[in-house]
């Protein structure tokens, strides 16, 4: 009798331990983000990232120094000469249009995000990245003056493409959520997007389980400049039609 009691207690303890172990292992497995990798690899990538960020900061500093010097020349000349002043204003206008300057103004901010999303795997929006093209097109039709997707200014030859489970804009990889900023008449932009049977209405109706879209007005919307320089290799300006 005594022997059985001891065995029973032992058995119960073992059962509890087993349960605890199983629970522990399960929690580790089911942590969001999937399986675990060695921390060394992450540390390596993280340190690489740190080096790159430092390099970028240094380059940014160098760039702003150069720009300041250029500006000094322009200002000193513009003070003396009205033609130069006008030319400088013209130049600034085209720089703004080409996305070489950071700009701000009233407008809207649109966020589009996958509801179901596994990191590293293609999602609904990625397979249907034409949605982004269409949204940009709709905003342009509503009179947007400047548009940026995830801080990438949409200019004349901006392309959006999907490869290796990431959407690339202007050749730069982007991550969820996708934020489209547009500067323009906020009322008109919002109305154009939220039109009945319009693109967002359709998304909400048919793809409510896969996509989440929010539109909100904002003032000011800040769009940072593109650091990419456009260089034409094939297209040559024609002199004769110059105005």
């Amino acid at each position: 009798m005594k022997d059985i009691k001891g065995k029973l207690a032992f058995g119960i303890i073992c059962a509890i331990f087993g349960l605890i172990l199983a629970v522990q292992i399960k929690t580790v497995r089911s942590t969001p983000g999937g399986s675990f990798l060695s921390p060394q690899r992450a540390q390596k990538v993280a340190s690489e990232l740190k080096v790159l960020r430092n390099e970028k900061d240094r380059l940014n500093q160098e760039l702003s120094e150069l720009e300041n010097r250029l500006k000094e020349y322009e200002i000193s000349e513009a003070d003396e000469n009205i033609i130069i002043r006008n030319l400088k204003n013209d130049l600034e206008k085209y720089q703004i249009l080409a996305g070489y300057r950071s700009i701000e103004g009233p407008g809207i901010v649109l966020t589009i995000e996958d509801v179901v999303f596994q990191q590293g795997e293609a999602s609904f929006i990625m397979f249907n990245f034409e949605i982004l093209l269409e949204l940009v097109n709709k905003l342009n039709a509503a009179g947007a003056e400047a548009i940026a997707i995830n801080e990438q200014r949409y200019v004349a030859n901006t392309e959006i493409y999907f490869t290796s489970n990431t959407i690339f804009i202007n050749g730069v990889p982007t991550a969820q959520p996708y934020t489209i900023k547009a500067i323009g008449d906020a009322e008109a932009l919002e109305a154009a997007l939220n039109m009945r049977f319009g693109i967002i209405d359709k998304l909400k109706q048919y793809h409510n389980e896969s996509v989440k879209v929010t539109v909100k007005k904002q003032n000011p919307v800040i769009i940072t400049r593109n650091s990419k320089v456009t260089n034409f290799k094939f297209a040559k300006p024609i002199e004769s039609t110059q105005l």
Partner: protein, 244 residues
């Protein structure tokens, strides 16, 4: 004697096993807490994406710095020789105009013709399937850009950053001007890749062509000419940020 030894041995063994188990468990808990919980596949993926992004940005920053250095030397030379930077600014405005679409340009490229399908409608088909929609035009334009198109136009309307494409039945409205069929897209860039973007069997154009019978023809041309943007630019709402 033997029985007594066994009685002594078993509790001792259990004690050792549990001690080991205790150590093992604590170790496991500690590990999860400190190291592993932050290194999921998601983290690695995010980091990798950021690395690619930073590299891309550094590359473009370096290009930008080269450009600014060139500008600076040009300014200095101009001031020394002519005492004014007017010529340099004029030249710079010309390049900026070409990029933003306010200058006629010419170069090798392709001319793509789009037309609605002419074949008979199958029984189960929707007439809408055989007609070109704005999504089709947008996607083809985007494919051409991805293939390296530098300058594009639809029916003579230069495509700039704020160009809209709207289809209303048989017509297309680009930059506020309306055109009927056929839709002609001109693109300047490497003719071989541009042509491939339209002709390759895996492309969106091939889908339109082979499944729906929509006419998508591309033609390589050594001299494509695209005129400048004809509309007005609106800068009512946006202002440049100071210092940037």
């Amino acid at each position: 004697m033997e029985n007594k030894l066994l009685k002594f041995k078993i509790p001792f063994l259990i004690l050792i096993i549990f001690t080991l188990l205790g150590f093992g468990l604590t170790l496991q808990f500690k590990n999860t807490k400190e190291d592993y919980s932050f290194v999921s596949l998601k983290t690695i993926n995010d980091l990798n994406n950021s690395v690619i992004k930073e590299k891309e940005e550094i590359k473009s920053l370096q290009e930008l710095i080269q450009l600014k250095k060139k500008n600076l030397t040009e300014y200095e030379v101009a001031i020394q020789q002519e005492g004014s930077i007017k010529e340099v600014i004029v030249a710079e405005i010309a390049t900026m105009k070409a990029i933003t679409g306010f200058y006629d340009v010419e170069g090798p490229g392709v001319i793509v013709k789009l037309n609605d399908s002419e074949r008979e409608l199958y029984e189960w088909e929707d007439p809408n399937d055989l007609i070109i929609h704005e999504q089709d035009v947008l996607t083809i334009i985007n494919d051409l850009k991805y293939a390296g198109a530098e300058v594009l136009s639809i029916n003579g309307q230069r495509i700039i950053g704020t160009t809209e494409i709207q289809c209303a039945g048989p017509t297309i409205t680009v930059n506020g001007y309306t055109y009927g069929q056929p839709f002609i897209i001109k693109a300047i860039g490497d003719p071989v890749t541009l042509d491939a973007a339209i002709k390759s069997p895996n492309s969106y154009s091939a889908l339109l062509r082979d499944i729906y019978g929509i006419v998508v023809e591309s033609q390589v041309n050594p001299r494509v000419r695209i005129s400048k943007y004809q509309g007005n630019i609106n800068m009512k709402y946006m202002t440049p940020r100071e210092g940037e």
